[in-house]
Amino acid sequence: MRFGIVTFPGSNCDHDAYHVVSHVLGQEARFVWHKDRDLSGLDCVVLPGGFSYGDYLRCGAIAQFSPVMESIREFAAAGGYVVGICNGFQVLTESGLLPGALLRNNDLQFICEDKTLLVANGHTPWTVLCPETIIAPIAHHDGCYYADEDTLMRLEDNGQVVFRYAGRDGGEGDEHNPNGSLNNIAGICNEAGNVLGMMPHPERNAEAALGDGSGASLFRSIIHSFVEGRA
């Protein structure tokens, strides 16, 4: 499977995503510069974490106007797989590829720590091989997911809520919610399921040396879905 990792000038998890898909999972990968529009040959585009264009304004607000996002909109519309992690999720909501918005964390602090995620929908292309829960660190200042009531209901009804913050046993509860996200949402997908956005970083827990390695299951799932879809 061929992955494209987008590099905005302020991206800083692009090399981490590259490392995981290419060195840990043995897939083809290349970087895509933010000023480029060429996504040819790619099967999955990763919008990595970081601070796209500094994000002094609103996270991801400027990135939606970048040349590469025009191509990504077309790529996603044609059914290509797109995943936005952390800042990438913010870019996807700002670009209208996913509904809702990411607000300041409710305690107004940057938070970096491991979180257990309940896989709320194990039938998406991104989660078919995931266990019931995975551990993925968060590292964000603006990760409080917000959407209006109708949108939220639609997301829930369609199974578009993919990950929720949970306790270690997978139990839900507001006490496990680090940032005030509505419905404890940690990640959502679009209606078609080919575009995923999530605040936690599965790439930070894709090797045994850095945790339990359960974050790799997300990447394994999408590779599996791609291979199955082609077969």
Binding site: G10, S11, F51, Q109, C112, A209
Partner: protein, 761 residues
């Protein structure tokens, strides 16, 4: 050619000279170097270059005595950062620097730009930064400034480091009333570089172009270096415009552009613009190269119109670099910087006249022999005097026993200096770049894997200022030993150091004595452990209204693990045995126990026994390499009792922090209350607890015997209580680990009035 004063320049008067921080003697030296009256621009340049911050005029004679050589040293002091060889062609490039004065005036920006500055020092050497550390000091937890300062400083460090994508992995935070008027912010950066691809700031090649790259120059930070070379009086708001404003997004692009550029064959020399900005970067490059340099100040990109040469030269605007390029390769620099949407402007040339010459629209406005600003800057051997009353302060205090060791342990764990610092480090991205094997709070040092090798490095920043104040020579030796022991407790061998020497007003003979003695102690200690210092920074004049801080010589240590898999943390495994390495010589003088329980700061710091210390470091390294040691933690603040509690509280989480694990330990402590508290909370050098599997105990004990390290099988791991018995097998400490942890986790936020973070997931 003689520079002419510009119209509008103030005339050079005694009061103007004094405002620039130059003494009458120093001004006479200026006249001697120039053979004429300086222009206003030149006066400003002498002022910053001869400031303590840039010239090290007070510290230089003492710094020369530090050990700076060793077989692994690739680059010692004098460059932007030091480099130490870790094998396979890789070097670790690192340095620590203070940003104390600005962080007190404006905590967020002061701390943020401190991080920005130290990052530039490292990537200017062509090293990819892989970790940040910091050492912070604030006044008493209940001082009215403390909450605002710690909140701002931590957010500032987070705001800059997180955006740069460089993980902040380790450090320390401590509180003491001596910092009420002067907090300390020491930032350290660690990078990786190929040893044969290091870039230096040495101007060479007459006619080669000088390029200015990065942010535009504004009026911020003018005379920052001079401000940092002065004491504070009450009402410090006045110098606020001397604090710079950080832009980490620009620095991130500058980092990537510089590293990309250094892959091309276009750069002769490169230097970051830190303190004293354009002036010091250009002067230092010419000084190292033995060349001259001509700058056309009108070419410098500016944020606002109407800036004078004086302002451009002295601005400390952030995120700027100066590059000497190979003639004809200017376009390579332009192209790469344009890709990252950054400016790169030719602003001068390397000359052979030994002069630092500044032109404005073709007119010469400053011309100074380079040597006058570098090697021939004033050097002082300031008078020193052992502080009055030190003898009395060194008498070991007679402290009555408290009587309840459980209560003492809890109050020590809850005291802000020992309490959990999770509120601080959860605001730092400590995982980005995927190298952090041992995270903050999980060991005495952070451990990072070195990509493309099997190796890992352990990093720490540490200083016990109460020990150093009590006796600067002994205390600094102890600080050096402890910092090295911290990396050894992860299984690493300490291989190099950087220092950040924070002291009071050196014009006071007692402060100067503390400075000289502390440097002597650091030098002696690091020589004993064969650890060279390869970079460093001095921050003097940390004094407010006549009150100087405790001497605080922070040490940053790099440790090397040949095999990353050997790394251990401090948390106990669920089962196993406890072995105590080393010979405890506990004493309560200058201890956390004396301060927290009795409110006494008196007595001598614990003495280091170097043979034992070396044996301990060897045993820790060998025990981890052989796979015998599963967790290790040294006795430091709060002694053996607190160290053991910390291992219990972190237990059960492998290399991370788990839910806690109990233990049951027998000691030779006499059953009297005084003896029990001395054994549990007395502070000692050269000791560490290690966790071992039952079957491995004999192997570890014989390994230690071979290496000359005392080792005693002291107890068992397991259960959910921490139990420590005296020589009559009576429990001195018997408490649920969960209770200890409650005290430890809430201590910091309770003391300062911060919002508790939610419980660990």
């Amino acid at each position: 050619m003689t520079p002419a004063p510009r119209s509008g320049d103030p005339s050079i008067t005694e009061s103007l000279i004094s405002e620039h921080g130059l003494t009458p003697d120093e001004y006479q030296r200026v006249l001697g170097h120039l053979g004429r009256t300086p222009t206003h621009t030149e006066l400003g340049v002498f002022s910053v270059m001869w400031s303590e911050h840039c010239s090290y005029k007070t510290s230089r004679v003492h710094l020369k005595t530090l050990p700076t050589e060793g077989p692994r040293v690739v680059q010692g002091p004098g460059e932007n950062a030091g480099v130490i060889d870790i094998g396979d062609g890789w070097g670790v490039c690192f340095k620590m620097e203070s940003h104390n004065h600005p962080s007190f005036i404006e905590p967020y920006q002061g701390a943020a730009t401190g991080v920005g500055g130290i990052l530039r020092d490292v990537f200017t050497m062509n090293a990819r930064p892989i970790a940040l550390l910091n050492s912070l000091r604030f006044g008493s937890a209940d001082h009215p400034f403390t909450r605002r300062l710690i909140t701002g400083v931590v957010e500032g460090i987070a705001g800059y480091g997180n955006c740069m994508g460089v993980p902040t992995v380790a450090g320390e935070v401590a509180f003491h009333p001596c910092y009420d008027g002067n907090n300390l912010v020491n930032a350290m950066c660690v990078g990786l570089v190929r040893n044969d691809q290091i870039f230096r700031g040495i101007a060479a090649g007459v006619g080669n172009p000088v390029l200015y790259v990065g942010s535009r120059t504004g009026r911020d930070g003018i005379h920052g270096a001079t401000m940092a070379s002065d004491t504070f009086e009450e009402g410090v708001e006045k110098p606020r415009p001397t604090v710079q404003v950080g832009d980490p997004y620009t620095e991130k692009r500058l980092l990537e552009a510089c590293l990309e550029l250094m892959k091309e064959d276009a750069v002769i020399a490169i230097q970051d613009m830190g303190a004293a900005g354009l002036t010091s970067s250009s002067v230092e490059m010419a000084g190292r190269g033995g060349t001259g340099l001509a700058l056309h100040i009108d070419q410098i990109p500016r944020r606002e119109p109407g800036m004078t040469p004086y302002e451009c030269l002295l601005s400390e605007s952030q995120e700027r670099m100066l590059i000497v390029a190979a003639k004809g390769k200017e376009h390579v620099v332009h192209d790469i910087f344009a890709k990252w949407d950054l400016e790169a402007v030719v602003c001068g040339t390397v000359t052979d006249d030994g002069l630092w010459s500044i032109y404005e629209d073709g007119a010469l406005v400053a011309s100074i022999p380079v040597g006058a600003l570098t090697d021939d800057a004033p050097v002082y051997n300031r008078p020193m005097e052992r502080p009055a009353g030190l003898d009395a302060r060194q008498v070991e205090p007679e402290l009555p026993a408290h009587g309840d060791c459980n209560a003492v342990l809890k109050s020590l764990l809850a005291s802000p200096n020992i309490a959990d610092k999770r509120w601080v480090w959860r605001q730092y991205d400590h995982m980005v770049r995927l190298n952090t094997l041992v995270r903050p709070g999980a060991a005495d040092a952070a451990v990072l894997r070195v990509p493309k090798t099997d190796k890992a490095i352990a990093v720490t920043a540490d200083c016990n200022q109460v020990w150093v104040k009590a006796d600067p020579f002994t205390g600094a030796q102890a600080a050096a030993a402890e910092a090295c022991r911290n990396v050894a407790c992860t299984g690493a061998e300490p291989i190099a150091a950087t220092d950040c020497l924070n002291f009071g007003n050196p014009e006071r003979p007692d402060v100067m004595w503390e400075f000289a003695e502390a440097i002597r102690g650091i030098g002696a200690g690091l020589r004993e452990l064969s650890v060279p210092i390869v970079s460093g920074n001095v921050s003097l004049y940390n004094e407010t209204s006549g009150r100087s801080i405790h001497p605080t010589p922070t040490l940053g240590i790099i440790g090397l693990l040949e095999d990353a898999d050997d790394a251990v943390g401090m948390g106990l495994p669920p089962t196993g045995e406890l072995v105590l390495l080393g010979t405890p010589r506990p004493r309560l003088g200058a201890s956390a126990y004396a301060q927290v329980v009795h409110g006494v700061e008196q007595g001598m710091p614990p003495q280091v026994h170097w043979d034992e210390e070396r044996a301990l470091l060897a045993a820790l390294k060998a025990g981890c390499a052989e796979g015998l040691i599963r967790a290790a933690h040294d006795a430091a603040d709060g002694g053996l009792g607190v160290a053991l509690a910390e291992m219990c509280m972190a237990g059960g989480g492998g290399l991370g922090v788990g839910d806690g694990v109990g233990c049951s330990v027998d000691t030779p402590a006499y059953p009297e209350d005084v003896a029990r508290e001395l054994w549990l909370f007395g502070e000692t050098q050269g000791c560490a607890w290690v966790a071992v599997d039952l079957d491995d105990v004999p192997t570890l004990l014989s390994l230690c015997q071979e290496l000359g390290c005392m080792a005693r099988h002291a107890g068992h791991i397991g259960g959910d209580r921490m139990v420590v018995r005296d020589a009559w097998k009576t429990a001195m400490v018997d408490a649920p680990v969960a209770e200890l942890r409650e005290a430890w986790e809430t201590g910091l936020c309770d003391a300062i009035g911060l919002t508790q973070p939610p419980p660990r997931a």
